[in-house]
């Protein structure tokens, strides 16, 4: 029996060692750059003169102005979610069940806003509905002082979330299930209500929660479009930190947000688990048909109109506004440092952003990739799965928390990174890594474990198994993940605005700073810089798309 227990111990010991090896770097990274800053926030908020004061939370959230912020944050998130569902669910149906020329292009158009930086959306909606914007010019209508600008910008961003989550599943639902219900005597509407809707409901819930989360923690959009009237928790945390200099209140607000986000994420995890239960899925290509009848054509047309007005028009107006000055004046102004807003020419921000983004992508891919590899192992225990949820926190906990945490935790020895350029990429990687994990994990999990075993039996060592079996299968996902991390990093605003050095702003930070200054020239420059940012993001994604299709063959 000694041999017995010995062999078993060897096997599990080896598994544990591998897992620990994979996890060490991500765990260290998240402990140092997430858990430690969050702990610093807690201490800053609730500890005065070495004693804990939990009563501070109640004290602060009952202040009238803070109560107002909490109320606004919640109801605008609910309203944005409802509006997004209302406009995007029909689009989800159109993408899932109808087949029409230009569908691929339309899908790309719908997806682009999701990867665009928040400040680009902010400036685009400013150019559409703000002072001197298109609506102002045409009909004298201004929405930038109303909540509508914020709500519409939120729909702009989250349209793709709903279309992809719900439409993606919808396209894979077997239409024959509905047909079976019809054959059993159900009317078309009843069949849809009793068969399709229940299958779809968890996906709708998951998408709605995601949209709620994104809009609840909205920062860039509200910062630009909200003016002095509207402020979400995120904006208030930033204001308390950088304008009021009340770090303790900011810390308490961060904790409140932390709790709210944690609750939403927990519900989301639960709905995702439910969504994965036993649905018969089919190839999406087989379920779409040409539109038939006036109803379907009307639906298709109205979805096209919504996409054109809400997603395409703002970006078009942004580009047009950036070209308003004769001879590309706004763009040329970007190359001069004389505005007084910056120590360097604003165009310098392009290179800063790209450098940071490359570094942040590298960090995010390594950290996220290792974490995904550890999580994908079949013998992953509870502890590891708990880490999975932890990894999602920086995504939901909001960028402002990350930035604020960096600001107050990494400013003294032994870890004083204030002067180091790596601070910004680190924060951006923290926000980007969850995307990498999310992209890689399903693909890694889908690699049949017996393929690895087949390679092992043929003589491949564990390292070669990874290189020969896993890597070729996940290369695509790895590139997509890198693209996500890159786009996130380019557009990252909430965390970066706290920690970017004044002489080295990134593109979004530069745009926001220009918009906060009066005058047509600053405004025009902001539009021009936003356009550049949009083009850089789009170009990055297009290059990636190319890379991806070029290499799908064997090596």
């Amino acid at each position: 029996m000694t041999g017995a227990s010995g062999s078993r111990a060897t096997g599990s010991r080896r598994g544990n060692a591998t897992r620990l090896g994979l996890m060490a770097l991500p765990v260290g990274f998240f402990a140092l750059f997430f858990a430690w800053p969050v702990a610093a926030i807690v201490a800053r908020g609730l500890k005065t003169d070495g004693a804990w004061h939990l009563g501070r939370i109640a004290e602060i959230v009952t202040q009238p102005d803070i109560r107002h912020v909490l109320w606004f944050t919640t109801w605008q998130a609910l309203a944005s979610t409802a509006l997004t569902l209302l406009l995007a669910l029909p689009a989800g149906y159109v993408f899932a069940r109808l087949d029409f020329p230009g569908k691929h292009l339309l899908r790309a158009v719908v997806t682009v806003p999701f990867v665009l930086p928040t400040v680009v959306a902010g400036s685009a909606f400013l150019a559409l509905v703000g002072r001197g914007g298109l609506l102002d010019e045409l009909w004298g209508v201004r929405l930038d002082t109303t909540v509508w600008a914020i709500l519409l910008a939120h729909v702009f961003f989250n349209f793709a979330v709903v279309v992809r989550t719900v439409g993606g599943l919808w396209a894979q639902l077997d239409p024959r299930q509905e047909e079976a219900a019809r054959m059993l005597g159900a009317s078309p509407l009843t069949a849809w209500r009793k068969v399709t809707l229940p299958a779809l409901a968890p996906a709708v819930a998951a998408a709605a929660l995601m949209v709620f989360l994104f809009t609840f923690t909205s920062f860039g959009v509200v910062q630009i479009l909200g003016g002095p009237t509207f402020s979400t928790l995120e904006v208030e945390i930033y204001r308390q930190t950088s304008e009021v200099f009340d770090l303790s209140t900011a810390a308490v607000l961060t904790l409140v947000q932390f709790a709210a986000v944690g609750a939403v994420l927990a519900v989301h995890a639960w709905t995702v688990r439910r969504r994965e239960t036993a649905l018969r899925l089919v190839d999406p290509k087989a379920t779409a048909r040409r539109p038939r009848g006036a109803g379907q054509w009307t639906l298709l047309a109205s979805v096209l109109v919504v996409v054109a007005l809400l997603l395409v028009l703002p970006l078009a107006v942004l580009v047009r506004r950036s070209l308003d000055a004769p001879g590309l004046g706004y763009y040329r102004a970007l190359t001069h440092a004389d505005g007084g807003t910056f120590l360097v020419a604003p165009v310098h921000a392009v290179w800063t952003s790209l450098e940071y983004a490359v570094a942040a992508t590298a960090i995010a891919v390594v950290i996220g990739g290792l974490a995904a590899a550890a999580l994908a192992r079949r013998d992953a225990g509870r502890l590891v799965r708990g880490f999975d949820a932890l990894l999602m926190l920086p995504l939901g906990v909001s960028a402002v928390t990350v930035g604020f945490g960096f600001l107050i935790a990494l400013d003294k020895p032994p870890l004083d990174l204030r002067q180091s350029w790596i601070l910004v990429p680190l924060a951006q990687a923290l926000v980007g890594a969850p995307f990498v994990v999310r992209t890689m994990l399903p693909v890694l999990r889908a690699v049949d474990v017996r393929l690895r075993e087949a390679a092992a039996v043929l003589g491949a060592s564990p390292w070669r198994v990874w290189r020969e079996v896993d890597l070729p299968l996940v290369r695509r996902a790895l590139l997509v993940a890198a693209g996500f991390a890159f786009a996130v990093s380019l557009g990252e605003f909430g965390a970066t605005v706290f920690i970017a050095r004044p002489d080295n702003p990134t593109l979004p930070v530069a745009v926001a700073r220009l918009l906060s200054r009066p005058g047509d020239l600053n405004y025009g420059q902001a539009m021009a810089l936003s356009t550049i940012l949009m083009v850089v993001c789009a170009a990055a994604l297009l290059i990636l798309e190319r890379l991806r299709t070029d290499r799908t063959g064997e090596f």
Binding site: R8, S12, R450, A455, V457, L458, A460, P472
Partner: protein, 339 residues
């Protein structure tokens, strides 16, 4: 012995999937492990391959204890149930994979891949995509891939499991010829007795993680070790009986049994060929409930007035209609006392 299992045990949770299994496979021998699903036969292969750590006992290859030796260093081949060809590589690259892992030079590899593809009946298929292969072709490629690194022991997990019947029958003959020609040592598992009997020099029947019987196909077929093995081989006429001398007292009445049979409370098997149909007024009175055509004969299902159902094998022409009344007599040559 090339392969020895010494009290090999695998537990999942508290359940023993492999329960103190002892098994020896000699060089050039083809052994088939036969058993219903869940009997632990796939786990047996995985334990030998090093993919499943043992909870107890040892696996020895060439007399060397394999405890702690990882799968890629054991030098055994395993052909997976659903082949597990690498989807992103073509046929040639799949076959060459094991050779690459063993550091065989490119030129040599190409020659070897060509030779193996010819051997399995797919000459010139090296550049084909795996996705374009039919089930039978995939099976051949998987076999070539497993043979390529010249494993000292080749293991096959349900080698023909997913193929349709006619293809299976053809391939089983090809495989058996191929193994004979190459002198490969083979350990295969299957739930199909036909496959096992066609391939194997020796058959091992497994039940609930234990070995129920081991022997040549003929031995196992002629003398199943117990009621479980008999029923698993497809024999339905199995009843408890009390044996005294050359007569067994059973629910079907007195059955003649061979001389020298074990005495006392036993299980008796009458093979369908030993159930002879006679006119209704003779022997055990039965009613025909159904009949199924088996190609060379008809299986006639009979319900005696008293006692469990019977199956008789009957020439095509003489098969009675369902509902007919017949008599049954038992042939001593086809009757076996088990246990």
């Amino acid at each position: 012995m090339l392969l020895s299992l010494d009290a090999a045990t695998v537990r999942f949770g508290g359940r023993a999937v492999l329960d103190t299994v002892g098994l020896d496979v000699a060089e050039h021998e083809v052994v088939c492990v036969l058993g219903p699903s869940g009997s632990g036969k796939s786990t047996l292969l995985r334990a030998v391959a090093g993919l499943q750590p043992l909870s107890g006992g040892r696996v020895l290859l060439d007399g060397r204890n394999q405890t702690g030796v990882p799968a890629h260093q054991r030098g055994v081949g395993l052909m997976f149930q659903d082949h597990q060809l690498f989807p992103q590589r073509d046929v040639g690259a799949n076959v060459a994979f094991g050779l690459r892992m063993h550091g065989v030079a490119k030129g040599e590899r190409d020659v070897e891949v060509g030779r193996l593809l010819e051997l399995v009946g797919l000459p010139g298929a090296a550049r084909r995509a795996v996705a374009s292969l039919s089930g039978g072709e995939q099976q051949r490629v998987a076999l070539a891939r497993a043979l390529a690194p010249r494993p000292r022991l080749l293991m096959l997990d349900e080698p023909l499991g997913q193929l349709d019947r006619s293809l299976r029958e053809r391939l089983v003959v090809e495989l058996s010829e191929l193994f004979g020609r190459l002198g490969t040592t083979v350990l295969a598992v299957t739930h199909d007795q036909g496959e096992a009997f066609a391939l194997a020099d020796r058959v091992v029947v497994m039940r609930d993680g234990r070995i129920a019987q081991s022997g040549t196909p003929l031995e196992v077929w002629q003398r199943p070790a117990d009621a479980f093995v008999a029923r698993f081989l497809g024999f339905e006429n199995v009843v408890p009986a009390t044996v005294a001398g050359t007569v067994a007292d059973s629910p079907w009445g007195k059955l003649p049994v061979p001389e020298g049979s074990a005495q006392g409370h036993r299980t008796v098997l009458v093979r369908p060929a030993g159930v002879r149909l006679v006119p209704a007024d003779q022997g055990l009175a039965c009613t025909v409930t159904a009949r199924t055509f088996k190609g060379t004969h008809v299986a006639v299902h009979l319900q005696p007035a008293d006692g469990p159902r019977l199956e008789a094998a009957c020439p095509l022409r003489d098969a009675p209609e369902p509902g007919a009344s017949v008599g049954v007599e038992f042939d001593v040559a086809e009757t076996v006392v088990l246990d």
